[in-house]
């Protein structure tokens, strides 16, 4: 007997109980039933193109532009702030602003990613729009006076915050 026919017999032996299992769906314990509703990769097909799919890509382009675009522009914020707005502050105080920004950007993803898996992009992106614009308009209201309260570590060793600032300043991730 060849190997393949052996497998055939095994499969045909297995077939009846499998079918019974499907018919018995209602009598299964609830845990098993919910497992059978789990969606696996084999159920999923992808359009791979078309107007709708590319419009999502364009939406993502705009979303990424409004987020990482800011991230990439930190250099000009940093330069203007340290030269004009906060010229009386040390470079380390200014550096921390962008250090925290860069860190928050990547760190909060830990919660946002799984939330996206569960509820999709729209609500998250609306919240992101509100936060981004809130932060930007707060920045526009910024004058030199409000800074002394937010100054973080005036005596901090210089190089670390400055380099963090340069990190945000750079076109780091993109």
């Amino acid at each position: 007997m060849t190997l393949s026919s052996e497998q055939d017999t095994i499969q045909s032996n297995l077939q009846p109980p499998n079918n019974e299992g499907v018919h018995d769906e209602k009598h299964r314990p609830p845990i098993l039933r919910s497992l059978s509703h789990t969606i696996t990769s084999t159920d999923v097909t992808y359009p791979e193109g078309g107007r709708e799919a590319w419009s999502v890509v364009f939406g993502a382009f705009c979303g990424i532009c409004a987020s990482i675009g800011i991230y990439n522009s930190c250099g000009i914020f940093e330069a203007y702030m340290s030269a004009e707005l906060l010229s009386h502050e040390s470079k380390s105080s200014v550096g921390w602003i962008f250090g925290i920004y860069a860190f928050v950007t990547w760190f909060f993803g830990v919660q946002i990613g799984p939330t996206f898996d569960a509820i999709g992009p729209t609500a998250l992106m609306v919240a992101g729009t509100v936060c981004t614009l809130g932060g930007i308009f707060a920045l526009s209201a910024c004058t030199g006076q409000s800074v002394s309260r937010t100054r973080l570590h005036p005596k901090q060793h210089l190089s670390f915050p400055v380099i963090i600032g340069e990190l945000a300043l750079s076109f780091m991730h993109c």
Partner: protein, 322 residues
């Protein structure tokens, strides 16, 4: 100021993760190309916003320039919110609860170690990638022996134009890498581009640092162009590689977990690079050799990580698409 850091940082995070995740819901075979196109947005913003601000700041001042920027952002965000949609239903269908939104470390222990080693590779890649893009302007200033206040006087304009060149080249490289990756496999493309990143750092940047009295900036420009092009994949392809390790419903979790590790990596990497600059006790451009070697070594480490994952999951057949 703190409001900017925390609010805009959160906002950036809230925009980029779903935007990137949505693309994965619509493309699988061609995900590399689609992600490449989407991530061109980051370079686009990185070139557009500074140009806008540079022209507006002298005319209408800080407050109104930033408000105009806010309005432009509002338009971009609006388009993003309107167009980004997910397709694949959540893993547990309608039974999705808040428990499904919790992050998990389980994904690092899937039995193969692929996710763990890929994450190590991603951290090393990002460690290496940020060093040239951070230090190219200051390296140029040191290289040309420009005074330290030259950033304000405009003498060092070319230092920042170098970054723009890098960014533009990178945007092009992102597109090409995505296109190639969909045909030859994402990990394969990653391995090839990491190899060329190593080559560009060790064979173009390092010589430019070590050889005294170079007549012109040719070598540096070649480095910036080549590095920009081959490192484009560092940004756009890494998420696609991660997506290959999981099913689409879990993509957000895999991507975000990996990049959370990266956020700590980036945080500790800055003192390392700064420390290396301080540790080399020579003046001028020679100071940068430690940093360049560190960058090269990080790329070698990342290269080995990706080769290992490929070998672990696909075996030794070097022609296999993965």
């Amino acid at each position: 100021m703190l409001a900017f850091s925390l609010l805009t940082g959160t906002g950036t995070s809230l925009l980029v993760n779903p935007a990137n995740g949505s693309v994965a819901h619509w493309f699988n075979e061609r995900r590399g190309l689609a992600s490449g196109v989407a991530f061109m947005g980051s370079s686009f913003g990185g070139v557009l916003f500074p140009l806008i601000l540079q022209s507006l700041l002298p005319q209408i001042g800080w407050a109104w320039s930033i408000r105009v920027l806010g309005l432009i952002l509002f338009v971009f965000c609006g388009i993003g919110v309107a167009l980004c949609r997910s397709r694949v239903p959540p893993r547990n269908g309608t039974a999705t609860t808040w428990r499904d939104t919790l992050p998990s470390t389980q994904i690092f222990f899937d039995g193969t170690g692929a996710m763990t080693v890929t994450t190590i590779g991603v951290v090393l890649t990002d460690l290496a990638y940020f060093i040239p893009v951070t230090y190219v302007p200051s390296y140029y200033i040191a290289r040309q022996n420009l005074p330290s206040n030259s950033t304000l006087t405009g003498e060092a304009a070319f230092a920042y134009q170098l970054l723009a060149i890098l960014n533009a080249s990178s945007s092009f490289g992102r597109l090409v890498a995505g296109w190639v990756a969909d045909r030859l496999g994402r990990y394969n493309t990653m391995i090839v581009s990491l190899f060329f990143c190593t080559v560009s750092v060790l064979c173009f940047w390092l010589p430019d640092i070590l050889i005294a009295d170079l007549p012109n900036t040719g070598l540096l420009i070649v480095f910036v162009l080549l590095f920009g092009f081959v490192s484009g994949s560092n940004v756009s392809l890494l998420p696609v590689c991660l997506g290959q390790l999981c099913e689409t419903q879990e993509y957000g979790r895999y991507y975000a977990t990996c990049y959370t590790v990266v956020s700590f990596g980036v945080l500790v990497s800055t003192p390392i690079a700064g420390g290396l600059l301080d540790a080399v006790e020579v003046s001028g451009k020679l100071k940068y050799w430690g940093v360049a070697v560190f960058t090269g070594l990080c790329y070698v480490g990342a290269l080995l990580s990706f080769i290992w994952v490929r070998w672990r999951l696909k075996g030794e057949d070097w022609r296999a698409k993965f």
